[in-house]
């Protein structure tokens, strides 16, 4: 039988995992998963700096094992930033989990290779990761477990952004199975 693979969001110190395969998750300024939380928005800066969401850590998990192996993992966006003016998103894979932090209701700690030491490289614009040019995610699995590197991303807001909830964006995981 084919494996059953879900997408988890990792939060908290543990970390805790939440299956977000069939739902959305918010990137705001608190380290929890929520589909519609608005109490901790990313503030819009009044100067030339940026404010950030808490970084969002996601990872695949098999709840039913493959016949043999899952490998060749990739992650990509739809190539078009639909968040609106002044809102961007950066991301990169990471070999370990680092809990998100920052000032709740204001800004997260910026996602950098310095602040998140196990990032594969410096985070970059996720909209450059496309179906034809995705981000390769190291890792594989033969069993039922969380597997592969995590994909970590962060929404960034500058002073040109408008208030309110942004439109949703969709990220895609891709992998091979035998």
């Amino acid at each position: 039988m084919a494996a059953v693979v879900i997408i988890n969001r990792l939060t908290g110190a543990g970390p805790s995992t939440t299956d977000i395969t069939s739902i959305n998750t918010r990137a705001n300024t608190t380290d929890i998963h929520d589909t519609d939380e608005t109490a901790n928005p990313i503030q819009i800066p009044t100067d030339a700096t940026s404010k950030f969401s808490y970084w969002v850590v996601t990872r695949l998990e098999t709840t039913s094992a493959p016949d043999t192996l899952i490998d060749n993992i990739e992650w990509f966006s739809d190539a078009s930033n639909g968040f609106g003016t002044g809102v961007t998103c950066v991301g990169e894979s990471a070999s370990a989990y680092t809990q998100a932090t920052g000032t709740a209701g204001d800004t997260g700690l910026e996602l950098t290779a310095g602040n998140y030491a196990s990032l594969t490289s410096a985070p970059s614009d996720v909209f450059a990761f496309t179906s034809a040019a995705p981000n390769a995610i190291p890792g594989n699995t033969t069993d039922t477990e969380e597997f592969g590197d995590r994909m970590v991303y962060q929404v960034q807001v500058d002073s040109t952004a408008g208030p309110g909830v942004t439109p949703a964006e969709t990220w895609t995981w891709r992998f091979d199975e035998t």
Partner: protein
């Protein structure tokens, strides 16, 4: 819940013996000696048969896409790889499982992501790497 797979395969050997993918018989454990053909079925209806020559290495993958929100896409790669005059050559059939019959089938030579974002190589197994160079 584990969804029943619509696509399955059967290996066909030179002596006429057939081996179907079942629990315990997988693509990776399949005996490749005297393998003659690889039949792919959709709900037990034949859709693609790959005929193999002695030096052609079978290729099979289930390529999956999954997104938050529950959207998903599945394409099966089925074909062969061989070494001809020192060149690594592939012919791959891409079977798109879109929950309708017949499934949409594409055939391609080299892996070419410019033609289709899904037409890229798998991570090779040792048994998929051709060792004998064929002159043609």
């Amino acid at each position: 819940m584990v969804e029943q797979e619509k696509i399955n395969w059967t290996a066909v050997y030179k002596d006429g013996k057939k081996v179907k993918r079942v629990k315990g018989i997988t693509y990776d454990t399949l005996n490749r000696t005297n393998l003659k053909a690889f039949e792919v079925t959709w709900m037990n209806i034949p859709v693609v048969t790959v005929h193999l020559q002695d030096n052609q290495q079978l290729i099979w993958r289930r390529r999956n896409e999954v997104t938050p929100g529950g959207l998903s896409r599945i394409v099966y790669l089925c074909g062969w790889r061989e070494l001809i005059n020192g060149k690594d050559v592939q012919t791959i059939t891409y079977i798109f499982d879109r929950d309708k019959f017949p499934p949409e089938v594409h055939v391609s030579g080299k892996f070419d992501r410019e033609a289709n974002a899904l037409f890229y190589p798998p991570e090779w197994r040792e048994f998929e790497v051709p060792t004998k160079d064929v002159e043609r």
